[in-house]
């Protein structure tokens, strides 16, 4: 694998502009790398198949009738759309998805507003590392630790079963993750830029706003998206803090279906697929940002 890696890498991203771009497969190469390529493709194909299988199965379920479902096969011989319109008619799917989208987006904005200045300040302060470690260590605790205390606090504040409450909780909850992601991006901004602005007379916050923030846009996008997805996917807090359908989001709604013994697999599948669609759309359109965000979080 690595030989073809290096030889290919020599053609991409090596030193000099001459090596960028796509190259045709050279005819003078040894045949063994052809086999190697085939094996790599096979391996990757297996992974891809594994990753797609459950989702594909769910999709296929949405088109099956009740009897067909019990057959346990993948393909359907008589596809039907009945599950789709039934699910949307009987369950307030669009409502639930809408709630999730609303809460997730606004909480992502809150997370960014909180975390971005804080991460910047932490990286520029002399003992910032300490604060950073504190923030990160709060991530180690499982959320269930905060479940009961927050429940009581929210009840006392009257924020239970409200959009504001959910947005607040998620906004705060995702700050450690946002900090971890943004840290990598901020580290890439050379300190010399800050110093130049400082010499030019700009204050600390002004420097942040005018110099660093514009350079951080890709990082902010990535972090915002990841925070949004984390909030959208969240279940534990939602199950306790959103107590009726006026605030409930998708994850809780779906969890409520499956208690029923004679649950209609097809409709459940529809609810699932419909619910995932917003997140998958984001993932596909912004995949470069998302992957970039994840990778920069780990680069020192």
């Amino acid at each position: 694998m690595t030989v073809s890696t290096v030889v290919e890498r020599g053609r991409f991203g090596g030193k000099g502009a001459t090596r960028r771009g796509k190259a045709s497969i050279p005819t003078a190469e040894a045949e063994s790398s052809f086999v190697r390529r085939g094996l790599s493709l096979l391996g990757v194909g297996l992974y891809a198949g594994f990753f797609l299988l459950p989702i594909a199965f769910l999709i296929s379920l949405t088109f099956k009738t009740r009897d067909e479902v019990l057959l346990g096969q993948f393909f359907t011989s008589k596809p039907t759309l009945e599950n789709w319109w039934k699910a949307f008619e009987f369950i307030n799917l669009t409502g639930f998805i809408g709630h999730s989208v609303l809460i997730a987006s606004l909480s992502a904005v809150l997370t960014l507003a909180l975390a971005t200045p804080a991460t910047y300040a932490v990286t520029r302060l002399q003992h910032g590392e300490l604060v950073g470690s504190l923030v990160l260590s709060s991530y180690i605790a499982p959320p269930v630790v905060a479940l009961l205390p927050l429940f009581f606090l929210m009840r006392w504040l009257g924020l239970l079963n409200s959009f504001a409450g959910m947005i607040l909780v998620y906004g705060l909850m995702n700050v450690p993750v946002a900090y971890w992601l943004l840290r990598g991006f901020i580290a890439k901004i050379p300190a010399a830029l800050d110093e130049a602005a400082w010499v030019d007379g700009a204050g600390f916050f002004k420097t942040f706003l005018v110099i660093s923030l514009p350079l951080l846009v890709p990082g902010i996008v990535a972090t915002g998206l990841i925070s949004l997805i984390l909030a959208y996917n969240e279940f534990l807090f939602a199950s306790l803090f959103a107590q009726d359908d006026s605030v409930r989001g998708l994850t809780v709604a779906i969890s409520l279906f499956q208690g029923d013994r004679f649950v209609n697999f097809g409709q459940m599948a529809v609810a699932s697929i419909a619910g995932i669609v917003p997140v998958y759309l984001i993932a596909l359109f912004f995949q470069n940002h998302l992957i970039g965000g994840l990778m920069s979080g780990s680069v020192k």
């Binding site: 030989v3 290096v6 030889v7 020599g10 053609r11 030193k15 000099g16 502009a17 001459t18 090596r19 771009g21 796509k22 190259a23 045709s24 050279p26 003078a28 190469e29 040894a30």
Partner: protein
């Protein structure tokens, strides 16, 4: 060690031609320098010899045997990278031993080779250090040591000195030459610094935009550059060029000055480029009767201690001239320069190729 032959080699990158029709033969034990400006393809050529890049067409052969399809680990060549590429998580000793262990050499032999190389490169005290604990020069020597212990069929060096400061560069240059002479391994050395090439190599291949401009010994390239590019590339300070039209016995420069030619230059007409090296121009004292001469005005004087570089406006351009001595005319002085027609180079104005002199011996 092996001889290296490159026949009709082309390298394309999509539509981009990186190397065109390269033909080069390197004899066993020879030290060949590949020089040229950045982007000329010299590093790519080196990597092709190493097997790190595939060819688009053509043959690379070691000792006459084509090795196009052999992967790098099977070619038994050793490479010194510009960045040294030392294994950061291994001590110097293990860096040196790595290649030998891959080839399953017996432990005693590995030890012997490491100690020999360490002694030769004065690294014996650093064998148990990590690369991050070494200075630039020491790391460079470890990179060389790693190549030496392999006892390969060829050394390939990719600008190994460009990361060192000027003084170190000079001393390491001598070191490399000494090692190569001792081991007599076929060496291909890529550099953009022509001084390095001239001082180190048995022969030099000059590349430009993927093509070989000329291959020859340093003196051949200096005395008889095959084209204007090589003439301007080799030699420091660079050769002076004057474009002009040729009429009988001389070349008419844009400002009207006539530059005399020697009889061996023949009698053709047309656009030509005259080349004269700064060391072949001389500042004539007042009242000197030497000929031929050209007149000019001093525009800049650079005192270098051992010599003076004078920039004189003449023949429609600025000529550089090396003057030995401490006194130089002030800026703006009118001066008279002498030159040796036998040392004058002539290049065709259209093709840039050297106009070959006819030898008087017939």
């Amino acid at each position: 060690m092996a001889s290296i032959d490159i026949v009709s080699l082309n390298k394309k990158f999509g539509d981009h031609r990186i190397l065109s029709n390269i033909n080069l033969s390197i004899a066993e034990g020879e030290f060949l320098a590949l020089v040229g400006p950045s982007g000329c393809g010299k590093s790519t050529l080196l990597r092709i010899i190493a097997g790190l890049e595939p060819v688009s067409s053509g043959v690379v052969a070691f000792d006459g045997e084509p090795i196009n399809s052999r992967p790098p680990q099977a070619r038994n060549v050793a490479m010194v990278f510009q960045s040294y590429a030392l294994y950061p998580h291994m001590r110097v000793r293990d860096n040196l031993a790595f290649g030998l262990r891959q080839r399953k050499l017996p432990r005693a032999e590995i030890e012997r080779r490491i100690l020999d190389a360490a002694r030769a490169l004065e690294l014996d005290r650093y064998l148990d250090r990590y690369p991050r604990e070494l200075s630039g020069g020491q790391r460079q020597r470890v990179a060389m040591g790693r190549a030496m212990v392999r006892e390969p069929v060829a050394f390939l060096l990719d600008e190994p000195l460009s990361n060192l400061d000027a003084q170190l560069r000079v001393s390491m240059r001598l070191e490399i030459r000494a090692q190569q002479e001792r081991l007599r391994v076929t060496t291909v050395y890529v550099t953009h610094d022509q001084v390095e090439a001239i001082t180190l190599a048995d022969r030099i291949a000059v590349l430009n935009a993927g093509e070989i401009m000329q291959v020859g010994t340093p003196l051949e390239l200096y005395d008889r550059p095959a084209n204007r590019f090589v003439a301007g590339f080799i030699g420091s300070p660079a050769m002076n060029f004057v474009t002009g039209t040729r009429s009988d016995g001389g070349v008419r420069a844009p400002d009207g000055t006539t530059i005399s030619l020697s009889p061996s230059h023949g009698h053709a007409e047309g656009e030509v480029i005259v080349g004269l090296r700064p060391e072949h121009l001389s500042l004539l004292p007042d009242g000197s009767a030497e000929t031929p001469t050209i007149d000019g005005v001093v525009r800049r004087v650079e005192q270098l201690g051992a010599e003076i570089e004078l920039y004189v406006e003449s023949c429609g351009t600025r000529l550089c001239l090396r003057h030995f001595g401490r006194e130089a005319p002030a800026n703006g002085t009118r001066v008279r320069l002498g030159y040796d027609t036998a040392r004058l180079h002539l290049f065709d104005g259209a093709t840039n190729r050297r106009i070959v002199e006819r030898t008087t011996a017939g």
